[in-house]
Structures are given as structure tokens and as C-alpha cells.
Symmetry: C2
Subunit: 140 residues, 2 copies
DNA sequence: TGGGTAATGAATAAAAATATCAAAACGCTG
DNA sequence: CAGCGTTTTGATATTTTTATTCATTACCCA
């Protein structure tokens, strides 16, 4: 049982949720897919190898819940579907505007989000997302 | 006829496309909706007031084309749909994680995207997107 | 270990994105 | 400015993704 799963256990119980095998496997598989940024259906396929009878609805609902708990991040890059990744250290992405491929970039850019104003009033920012777009080597 | 439409005319012809009334109205309505970040269906409703017989497919296809031409930007903030805005000056957004509302922030953050590396190799970045997330006053 | 309740599985609904194709419209060319 | 090849439209259908429903299952606390 890895660190993510332990954190999951804690957070789940705190909020009145329950720990299920499905939930654990979804997070575990996503953690193992570091750098792959799979979409919901791909995660379903991955999880199904370990738990063949799991339903897509369960995977989907758990992704939403894990996102609420801050253990999973949802990413979108102008395609018609979301991608997911396990929340690890702060990092950013490059996405190819042609083929849609997404890769992690080497060094994270730091943005100081403490001075964000809207209509002259300061806004409390919980997180930010910085994404880079261009064309990958294959698509150029 | 505003400046955006003139640019549209130029770019359209250059690339072998044609100028149509539908195309012009889609861009014009989106230009007038500065700060609203409508989704495709909302743009369709706006355009329909001026051109009642236009079809959703036409609006949708033109949004895609205008995006290709760089006159329109597609935005997504973790909801299940895209938002659009006319390409104007560089600026960034704040999105409420609860209600999904999106607003422009006052001062743009500058990110120097010249040193982006993936797997040790430099990547040519055409654009970047920086978004801030939190909860708006109403949702707190 | 029993029981109240959250979660699952299976199915389906709803929403959003995309494709198809005959008919219409654009705009070049003479 | 009229004819014509080609692009674009309108209308509709299809696919993909997201979200919901509800009877049954399985957590987990006392």
C-alpha cells in the first residue's frame, strides 16, 4: 500500500466517506500511470484488468470524488474530454495542438498567485494552472 | 464593421476559405461578449437573434475555424464544456471551482515561455495559458 | 456481529461534440 | 455580371463524454 492510498484512507474517513476496494484501485492505478494523463475511459480499462466486474460509473464517480479530496487533478487541453493525473508535486504540462498529446515539462514555473485582482478587488486563489501549447516533434 | 471582422476577411481569403455572413456574425457577436466567456450553445443563441435560421452546426464549425485562424480562443475550466472568447490582448482568468463562473483578472501575469524542456530537450511553445482557481464571493 | 448508510453495478439519460450530405452561396474568371 | 467549380450551410443523425437512477451490495461503527 503506497503513500497515496494511506492519504486516501485518512481523507475518506474524515469526510464521512467509506474506503472501498474500487476506490483504492482507481487511485492506485492512476498513481502508477504517472506522465500518461489518461482520460476516464482509459482509467476504466486499466482498472478493469484488476477488477473485471467494475462498472464505468464507479470509476467515473470515484475520479470526481478523488478530485474533490484533492488526490486527483482533472486536466483539459481543448479536446472534448478531460484527462486525469494523481496529485503529486507541482508541475506543468505541454500539449500538442495538433495531435493532443500531453507531456510533463522538466522544471515547474513558479507563479506567485497572491496578487490576483478582479474588478479592483483581491481574489483568494486556491490553485493555478499553467499550460504550454505548441506542436510536438512528430506533428511539425 | 469592426477591426476583428477586417482581420477575419484578410485571414479567411489568404487560406482559401470564403467570407460568409454566418462567419462574420459569429465573430462579431463573440467580440461583443467580452468578459462573458460563453459556451458554444450560448453563442448559438446570441447569433440566432440576428440570424434566426442559422444552424448550431454552422456556429460550431465556425468557432473551430476561427480558433484555427487565431481569432478565437477556446477555454476550459474542468467543466464538461468549452468556453470561447474573441482573441484580444493577453489576459488571464479566475474560475470558481464551485459554480464554474469565469472572470477576467485585472493585470496579466507575464510568463517567459522560452525555456520549456521536456526530457531534457527544448520545446517550441506557441502559447501558454495561466488560470487561477478558487471560490467566488457568492460561493464562500 | 448486526444494522444503518454509503457505494456499487447496470442501465439509461442528458449534454456536448462531431459527422453526413444534398442544397445553397461564395467569389473567381471571362 | 453571369456561369461555374468549390466551399459552406442547414438539417439531421451519430458518437463521445458526462451524469443520474435505483435496487443490491458491502463498509464500518457500536
Amino acid at each position: 500500500m503506497n503513500k497515496n492510498i494511506k492519504t486516501l484512507n485518512q481523507k475518506i474517513k474524515q469526510q464521512g466517506y467509506r474506503m472501498t476496494r474500487q476506490r483504492e484501485i482507481v487511485l492506485d492505478e492512476l498513481s502508477k500511470a504517472k506522465g500518461r494523463h489518461p482520460k476516464a475511459d482509459e482509467i476504466y480499462q486499466m482498472v478493469r484488468k484488476r477488477m473485471p466486474h467494475i462498472s464505468f460509473g464507479t470509476v467515473y464517480r470515484n475520479l470526481r470524488l478523488l478530485k474533490e479530496l484533492g488526490l486527483v487533478r482533472e486536466l483539459c487541453f481543448g479536446k472534448s474530454f478531460s484527462r486525469f493525473e494523481a496529485s503529486v508535486d507541482n508541475h506543468q504540462h505541454f500539449s500538442c495542438m495538433t495531435c493532443g498529446k500531453v507531456v510533463d515539462i522538466d522544471e515547474p514555473f513558479e507563479v506567485s498567485a497572491s496578487n490576483v485582482y478582479v474588478g479592483g478587488k483581491p481574489i483568494e486563489v486556491d490553485e493555478y494552472r499553467l499550460e504550454f501549447y505548441g506542436r510536438c516533434d512528430d506533428c511539425r
